[in-house]
Amino acid sequence: MRKYILKRVVTALFTLLAITLILFILMQLMPGSPFNDEKLNEAQRASLYAKYGLDQPIIIQFFKYVGNMFRGDLGVSYKISKNTPITQLIATRLPISIGVGFAAVLIGAVVGLLLGLLAAFKHDTVWDTLATIISVIGVSVPSYVFALALSYQFGFKLKWFPMLFSAKDVLGSSVLPSISLSMFTMASIARFTRSEMIEVLGSDYMLLAESKGLSGKKLVFSHALRNALIPIITVLAPLVVDLMTGSLVVEKIFSIPGVGSLLVNAIQSNDYNVVIALSFIYSAMYIGIMLVVDIMYGIIDPRIRVAKEGD
């Protein structure tokens, strides 16, 4: 178990380092990057070089850069909001994005789980078909299509919720974005839960448990659920990534002042520094989540937690 965790942590750190290296190289090469902008005069350039240690050997530069990144010094924005530290730009936006994303994961996971279980237990009935149709649609239709549909119907037509994000009504204006973002998570989890559950229900150990004479309830709660749900943790992590991609568009549709819309702005206005800083943040978040999920999985699944005899 300790070996398992150690391996995960090392892999995660390596990945983050690899990404930082890529970012660093891009930083050096970018024609529009702040370090080799033509508009800079000699004095500015020199001060910039001194600040970031660009006059030093490349290896030292890299480690300095890594140090800066990990310490939270992400540099300054160059175009969107001139010379504002990126940390300051993100400070207000990150909580909003995380809030909407978290709500989406929560809605998606809970509804998806219930839907998947319903489909598996009522296998080959109308319920199964219905749940399958919902989940196939959820997987197939991009989140921003849901966002558009919801914002048209409930924002524009019925006026139940605001069409655009407003700081005064954070909760109310988060409802539509969270739901549209949750659709994909919900559908994926429903599909996965269904197929896992059907496989577990058809397994030999379920048959053995059934032959013990346990009640249906006991069969489900002490045998089926645990076995079906452990693997679901593994699909949750990649779904977070999809949430990140989805949030870019959904934030644009609902004008949410989150990290996603900042990234879109930065890309569109060629603010490389911000793009690279956000890429770092996204990667760090993603790798962090994957790490937590992997370790959680190890703790929950006895096949990983407890080593084989003699190992």
């Binding site: 690899a18 970012l23 496989e199 991609t245």
Partner: protein, 352 residues
């Protein structure tokens, strides 16, 4: 022991003495007639056809593909031809217009309430028909939708095939050689997989100009991992089997074994994965276009059409509906086909 000998139905055959002779069917009994009659692929096709949703998906994929290539030529408009005189016209289709649907009317929201107008008459265009309406620049949405679908399909299929080739080779090689090679290749894969897709795409766009090739590269970089995992898993399953051992004993080279002995045996799961990666590719392309990083104008894709339609979706909703429906149907159909294929290739459900 209960005795139920000779439980006979009334109308059953009454044997005669002539029946009690040996058949001497020694020659026929060696023929294995029950299971050998159906080939693997025949069975796969039979199972696929029995799944209604998969057939539905396949039909829609074919229909949309047909229109994507034929649709743009079905009227006189071109995807880039602008006519500012005829902008924002609602859908109007000959003959069907007499039913009151698709006759060119639309509801306009004004401060004083909703009113119904028909710009075809106001602008005196009795013989002009835009089947799906026209956009903000007076371009035909029918033509643009199908030509957008064409671009999206080409991108998705090209990306899927390229990542199939790369991912498959990577997985097959890693799985076949095993040991240290596999270890190193898998660590590299783990790191590649640890980079969020969004970040890969964004960084790529910093380096290359937006366009079809960039999108295909982006898709390729993000999708090959899944493919290589499947190929590797299949390889690990197959490489210890007799037919592989046999050809190794006969002195076949590694590359020969990988690509001409094993590859044909894992084609099923690979095709399934390709089918799954096509809708993902369509989605990613649409997402990139939506944030303004897709196909440059005047070419269009489903994503860029949706992005354009979004700007006026409260005033002229008909402009965003066709690309959205086509894209949703396309993704849905590919997913259904992939699902059906997966189940047809590997029936998990025990039936007895």
């Amino acid at each position: 022991m209960s005795n139920e000998s000779a439980v006979l139905n009334q109308n059953e055959y009454i044997p005669t003495d002539a029946d009690f002779v040996l058949k001497k069917n020694n020659a026929d009994i060696e023929v294995d007639s029950n299971f050998a009659s159906q080939s693997f692929w025949k069975e796969v096709i039979a199972r696929f056809i029995r799944k209604r949703s998969a057939v539905f998906g396949l039909v829609f994929v074919l229909i949309i593909t047909f229109f994507a290539f034929v649709g743009p030529g079905m009227n006189a408009y071109t995807y880039s031809g602008q006519n500012l005189e005829q902008k924002n016209l609602a859908p109007r289709i000959p003959i069907i217009e007499y039913t009151g649907l698709f006759d060119g009317h639309e509801n306009i929201n004004t401060t004083s309430g909703t009113k119904t107008v028909n710009y075809y008459f106001e602008k005196k265009l009795p013989d002009t028909f835009y089947w799906f309406g026209s956009d903000n620049f007076g371009r035909d949405i029918w033509t643009r939708t199908w030509s957008g679908a064409q671009v999206s399909l080409i991108i998705a299929v090209a990306a899927a095939i390229i990542d199939m080739i790369i991912g498959m080779s990577y997985g097959l090689i890693s799985g076949y050689f095993g040991g240290k090679v596999d270890m190193v290749m898998q660590r590299i894969l783990e790191i590649a997989n640890g980079i969020p897709r969004l970040v890969i795409v964004t960084l790529l766009l910093l380096v290359f100009k937006p366009g079809m090739i960039t999108i295909i590269i982006a898709l390729m970089l993000t999708e090959w991992v899944g493919m290589s995992r499947i190929a590797r898993a299949e390889m690990l399953k197959l490489k210890e089997q007799e037919f592989v051992l046999a050809s190794r004993t006969l002195g076949a080279g590694s590359m020969h074994i990988i690509f001409s002995e094993i590859l044909p045996n894992i084609i099923g799961p690979i095709i399934t994965q390709v089918m799954f990666s096509i809708p993902t590719a369509i989605f990613t392309e649409a997402f990139l276009s939506f944030v303004g990083l897709g196909i440059p104008v005047p070419r269009c894709s489903l994503g860029s059409l949706i992005s354009e339609g979004f700007n006026s979706f409260t005033t002229h909703p008909y402009q965003i509906i066709p690309p959205i429906i086509v894209m949703a149907l396309l993704m849905l159909s590919f997913n259904l086909v992939a699902d059906g294929l997966r189940e047809a290739l590997d029936p998990k459900l025990k039936e007895m």
